[in-house]
Amino acid sequence: MATPNLGIKEHSHGGGLPVSKLDVHGSFDPNDFPKPTGREEEWRFTPLRRLRGLHDGRNIADGVVKVEMSAPEGVTVETVGRDDERLARSFLPTDRVSALAYQSFTEAVVVTVGKDTRADEPVFIRVTGTEQGDAYGHVLVRAEQFSSATVVLEYAGTSIYADNVEFVVDDGARLDVVSLQDWDRDSVHVSHQYTKVGRDAHYRSVVITLGGDLVRLSPKVGYTGPGGNAELYGLYFTGAGQHHEHRSLVDHNVSHTRSRVDYKGALSGEDAHSVWIGDVIIGEDTKGTDSYENNRNLVLTDGARVDSVPNLEIFSGEVEGAGHASTSGRLDDIHLFYLQSRGIPADEARRLVIRGFFAEIINRIEVPELRQRITDEVEEKLAFHD
């Protein structure tokens, strides 16, 4: 799937820039982070102007968002004030927007999956922007020992939104997260998802980004015990003029931990821009890390731009497996030929191949109605593209 000369800029390697270790350079004080100029490694792909002030600390908080929640038995959902002492124990903001968001939210959502609870229905948290303007949020999800649950985070409507989401997966617990960025076309969203994976715990995230003018989402995973497993999946469909940026960081700071990162995107239309940064750190003196990351991009039209940067930093000699792959290209005309040679018309063949490209990620969502909705929305965007 490699077709050159598409005006795609692709970076196969990170160029040896050191990755900052999780928690090391974090701070709750926005002033500890200089205002980005766009020249910094972590900001150079983001069109700062289109952040609409989220990074400059101007926060007027004139936006309005509605937050709705629902949860099955065994799971408690609360709305709490800034002073709730459970908040912000699992992370330190790693950039200015994250610190500003933490400084600026008024109410947080706390989801607790009780010890040993097996929640059979998903927890839903829906954030809907109802009035354009900057707005801030905070969510803490804690899956206590040996519990298991699915949490669906849904963002929609119109907003200039920054938030921090904490996922704490205690020992032996399993947490499935679906984060759906389904904003109106004029929205801006900068989000940090900080995850701590406990001993023998399993965290699985599926990030789906379809909407917005600019979405920049940074999932950061660290481990608090051996045997932890983190799977990060992502799908984005970036249309004309949209900027979708995903920056994952997995810090294998503990021995015998596993991670998989697999993000897939399609781009269609003039100035569609997607960015994927996949940082993996294998910490000093750790053993038995098993990690693999992959990013694939399907460029459907001219005028789109892909940046894809896997970045693997290994500080330990005893690694079980570590690798990465990154590909970007057009639809494979040989795939289309095969389908067409069986009578399937060209446009349907394209849809089948693109659907197939995404199916792998969508099928990982274990909430059927969500799977269907996302499939439909992808189809809708595709129809638009045709």
């Binding site: 040989i334 030929f337 095969y338 067409q340 069986r342 009578g343 060209a346 349907e348 089948l352 197939g356």
Partner: protein, 253 residues
């Protein structure tokens, strides 16, 4: 009664944007419905090129000649139109299409070729039977098209499609290679059923007489140097098996 005619066909393989190479150098061949024509010839003589060029593969370009299906100019049709007009190519190396499930693919193909969506229940029964006939476990239906299939499974999948799509003319490019004896039998039976069901004409490209014991050819052609170098009856296959292509390679070179 169907007539499939290839007349004076010349074609290039497109190597890169500005590099091409002529492979077919004037191919003439006529296949009537119900007839089976075996095409035998040395490696690299252009047999697959002929098959792909006729099907409309994007890496080949026809520079001269005609391909007619009942008088209709196939070369003016899109790839999918050719298939819907009744042409089928079983590929030497079937293509893997990741993420597109076999069942989805087959339903789309059948819908396109038959011109209407088959009734869900009837189709799932038809598919089950066709899969069973080609010795596919039902679990294959959910797998990606040819994704991770073994060589033999890919070939059986081609013939499974042949049976579902019921073409007027089928080009089978080395469908027999890489098959064990059991699979060869299964595949041959599939081809023969398709022939009987709708009087399909067959262009059977092969290196070996082995499959010709199951699928009986009416004509045998030697393909060398990008054209049909000699034609005869079934006995020509025996001669070729005994003597090889040496004589033709010299002519072609």
């Amino acid at each position: 009664m169907t007539t499939f005619e290839i007349r004076g066909l010349r074609a290039d393989v497109i190597i890169s944007e500005d590099e091409r190479k002529e492979i077919l150098k004037g191919v003439d061949l006529t296949i009537n419905s119900g007839e089976t024509h075996a095409i035998m010839g040395p490696n690299g003589s252009g047999k697959s090129t002929l098959a792909y060029a006729v099907a409309g593969h994007p890496r080949y370009e026809i520079t001269e000649g005609e391909v007619l299906l009942d008088g209709e100019n196939v070369l003016e049709m899109e790839v999918d139109e050719r298939a819907r007009a009744g042409l089928f190519l079983a590929m030497q190396y079937p293509i893997e299409v990741p993420g597109v499930s076999m069942s989805n693919f087959l339903r789309s193909a059948v819908t396109a070729v038959r011109g209407e969506a088959p009734k869900l229940r009837a189709f799932s029964k038809e598919l089950q039977e066709a899969m069973k006939a080609m010795a596919f476990d039902s679990s294959f239906a959910a797998r990606g098209v040819n994704e991770g299939f073994s060589g033999g499974e890919k070939k059986r999948h081609e013939i499974l499609q042949l049976e579902l799509l019921k073409p007027k003319v089928a080009i089978l490019d080395e469908t027999d290679s890489g098959l064990d004896v059991d699979a060869l039998k299964i595949v041959s039976e599939g081809i023969n059923r398709a022939k009987e069901a709708n009087g399909m004409g067959v262009m059977l490209i092969t290196h070996y007489t082995r499959i010709l014991n199951y699928v009986k050819p009416d004509f045998v052609h030697v393909f060398a140097g990008g054209r049909v170098a000699e034609s005869g009856g079934p006995e020509l296959a025996e001669t070729l098996e005994a003597e090889g292509y040496e004589r033709f390679v010299k002519v072609g070179a």
